[in-house]
Amino acid sequence: MRFAALVGCNSLHPISMENESLSSASTPRCNPALNSPDFSRHMLELDEDDDLEVFSKDATFTDASSINTSLPTSPGSMINQYRFEEEHDSKDLFITVGDPESHVTAIETFITYRIVTKTTRSEFDSCEYEVRRRYQDFLWLKGKLEEAHPTLIIHPLPEKFIMKGMVERFNDDFIETRRKALHKFLNRIADHPILSSNEDFKVFLTAQAWELTSHKKQGPGLLSKMGETVKAVAASVRGIKQRPEEFVAMNDYVESFGQKIGMMDKITQRIIKEQREYLEEMKECGPVYTLWSASEEELVDILKGMAGCIDNCCKATEEQVGDLSEGLLPVLHEYVLCAETLKAVLRRRDNIQAEYESKSYTLANKKADRDVLKDEIEQLEDKMEYANKMLKVDWERWRKNMQSDLKLAFFDIAEKNVAYYEKCLAIWETFLTTEKPELVLEKDTEDYSQK
């Protein structure tokens, strides 16, 4: 396998090719497509190499956002540094999303969010940034990241709108849910060893509004973008000969997972609905007992007590519904979107394979310039292998995140449910102690005897 990184690059730092090795323990290369991140902190087992000096703190090798189809230099090295990358305790990039503000112009109304970035990373000129971004900007960022890393798994953005049950696009709950999701989106990128070094990401975090606009305008024009899309569609139409086994397994998993998580989402929505309706009916109970107490003499206190208990339980129920809809449901929903993301990633990977295969086919069957073709094929092969490897590693990463996210969410809701029942228990036990203290004592001994 040859490493040929220079196709299509405009300006590059001269790189010594002498110390290339073909093993997986090869040195990282300047990778224009990756906007030359600083990997030095990720290197653990890599040999000291002259080439290391190539990697200065200067992060502006090229504006590689225009070059998306070129190959990364050394897949192996990329994987290496990635594989050794653990969720570092030494987190050095902190992002918060907050303070939603509404902006009204003649044409439209939209919301911006304040993004505060604190970092000790050297490629950032300053250690603190504050910018305002709107949803469209996030969409742009996601698109750029997907272009640059087609087979990395990027955490999903919240949806543009939620059709069901949402009346007002700018309703408070909707904004808060969206804000949390956007926060998670950025933080997931920040935690990702490769994605966090992406140039567009940096621009997103640091540029002023006008800078961002002009930055967005750079990059491949509409025509070249269209060209890419056409290629991708063509590739998907062609199909691939045979998917490698591990990706078949991945595909199957994603199908099943998507289905299961979709069901979980639906079930949770249904529970919330039923719980809300239960709450509405329950709220009518207390007042009836109060009304009744007005007709009674001896029963006044106990009836009022009942009314009080029921009202308090209603409050607890209200809280519990909130926990469900603000805690568990958004997480489930995110993973529904993740399933879609995964499907897209797998599709893109398939397309890369298809591209390679079709070129190989051309070589085998058509009279064309064999040398040029051969070069192209090798590039495509490298690209494919790189994409596959990236996906495999990122897949493991995603699985870990998924497990920890869902485990936490489920654990959390179970805990909240326990707390809810404990609250209600306390309410009724208090009632019982006032009305029939002997019974409570009796019950306590009962509990003991049952142990």
Binding site: Y253, S256, F257, K260, M263, M264, I267, R270, I271, E274, Q275, E277, Y278, E281, M282, E284, C285, V288, Y289, L291, W292, S295, E298, L299, I302, L303, M306, C309, C313, Q403, L406, K407, F410, F411, A414, E415, N417, V418, Y420, Y421, E422, C424, L425, W428, E429, F431, L432, E435, K436, L439, K443
Partner: protein, 454 residues
């Protein structure tokens, strides 16, 4: 599921016996629980009727409604019908106390016979707040419960209600002594004829008569007016409560059952996960358990609803007593008015003055006065009528007063019973809620464990 009817207090001689349908000796187990020597006689005395001496005829008798069966037969219109009969068992308390275990005497009765008994008691003891029957048709149901009278759960709840009815009567110092009641429990055939022979139906006040009295009575006793208002309020508030409760039960059922879906999905999902698989699978089981637990919870709640329903129907019995008072009072007022008018007539006749307009007066003016002999004759008749009238007023007044006195005694007894029963019901509701919460805590704590191990 059999339940001990805790709210029906026992006299220290009558035991309450709830049995399983002819299965193992579970009956004796229940009876043992109930023959509670710690129940102080005084504690129990208070809810016996006003006579307070606890000497009900049936202190010697143990009563239960132990079974229900379907029968088919021809009804009065010679059409085939299916109906349910209930087995009434009676046993001598003495025999049991002596350690014997004689077979109970049994007979079968259907709901309509219970109704007949009650109607008889209503007419014969109009001053008593007569215990109500369980509902004829299922009302205030939430969706899972069937409103079908043939539904086994309904029949079961009705069986318990009928037993409760009989026990309340047997605990009442006045009603328990009634012979028709005794025969109801002991004589299967021909009982209906005996009841009809008492001619109680003729004594019943017509609905129209009662309504008329309600509208026209001028001076009902204040206490009864208040009582009537109270019974209206009680009925309204309990109906409302039952309606709301049914809707709440419906919703609660939904919440719990949907969690069962979690169980299913977790189970399926665990098949595709390696590390999370076990945790998901076991959590799924807990979700299933959670979903299933609602059935027991709602069955308990149904019992609470039945307790409320009894008092909903009791409010009707209260109103009946008030209506009777109004009727008697009205009759008294009418009789008194009649007497007054007759006395006026006598005065006119005696003095020759016409104070009130009467046809006789006019005609005598027009066509000449009556002869002194005629006048004498009329006066004599009037005098007789007035004497009669005065007697009548006296007896009516007495009847009214007696009625007020007797009924008020039973009303006080009823109030005590009601307060006690409803308090118990509310407390047992709280106990139920506590049990429900504890179950919830357990399930979710277990689920939490499973998630933490994922």
């Amino acid at each position: 599921m059999r339940r001990r009817l805790s709210q029906v207090q026992q006299t220290h001689d009558t035991t309450i016996y709830v049995s399983e349908p002819r299965m193992a000796d579970s009956g004796s187990e229940e009876a043992a629980v109930i023959e509670n020597p710690e129940v102080a006689p005084e504690e129990v005395q208070q809810d016996i009727g006003g006579t307070g001496d606890g000497s009900s005829l049936l202190k010697k008798m143990e009563i239960s409604v132990s079974e229900a069966e379907k029968r088919t037969g021809k009804n009065t219109m010679n059409m085939q019908e299916t109906y349910t009969v209930y087995l009434i068992e009676t046993r001598s308390v003495e025999a049991l106390n002596e350690g014997q275990s004689p077979a109970p005497d049994t007979l079968w009765r259907r709901y309509s016979e219970f109704e007949l008994l009650r109607n008889y008691l209503l007419v014969t003891y109009s001053y008593i707040v007569v215990p109500p029957l369980p509902e004829k048709r299922a009302e205030f149901v939430w969706h899972k419960l069937s409103a079908d009278n043939m539904d086994p759960d309904f029949v079961e709840r009705r069986r318990i209600g009928l037993e409760n009815f009989l026990l309340r009567i047997s605990a009442h110092s006045v009603l328990s002594k009634d012979n028709i009641f005794y025969l109801f429990l002991t004589q299967e055939n021909g009982w209906k004829d005996v009841v009809y022979d008492t001619g109680f139906q003729a004594k019943a006040d017509s609905r129209l008569k009662a309504l008329n009295a309600t509208f026209r009575v001028k001076n009902p006793e204040k206490r009864f007016t208040e009582l009537k208002h109270y019974s209206d309020e009680l009925q309204s508030v309990i109906s409302h409560l039952l309606r709301v409760r049914a809707r709440v039960a419906d919703r609660l059922y939904g919440v719990y059952k949907v969690h069962g879906n979690y169980g299913r999905v977790f189970s399926e999902w665990s098949a595709i996960e390696k590390e999370m698989g076990d945790g998901l699978q076991s959590a799924g089981h807990h979700m299933d358990a959670y979903a299933a637990s609602v059935d027991d919870i709602l069955e308990e709640e149904e019992h609470y609803a039945d307790q409320l329903k009894e008092y909903l129907f009791y409010s009707e019995a209260l109103r009946a007593v008030c209506r009777k008072h109004e009727l008697l009072q009205y009759e008294l007022e009418v009789t008194a008015l009649d007497l007054v008018s007759k006395k006026q007539q006598r005065e006119e006749l005696a003095t020759g003055t016409v104070r009130t307009f009467s046809l006789k007066g006019m005609t005598s003016k027009l066509f000449g006065q009556e002869t002194p002999e005629q006048r004498e004759a009329k006066l004599k008749v009037l005098e007789e009528q007035i004497t009669e009238g005065e007697e009548f007023v006296k007896s009516k007044t007495l009847e009214c007063e007696e009625y007020v006195q007797n009924s008020w005694i039973d009303i006080e007894r009823f109030k005590e019973q009601k307060n006690q029963d409803l308090k118990e019901a509310l407390i047992s509701y709280a106990v139920m809620q506590i049990s429900m919460c504890k179950k919830g805590i357990q399930v979710w704590t277990n689920a939490k464990e499973c998630f933490s191990k994922m």
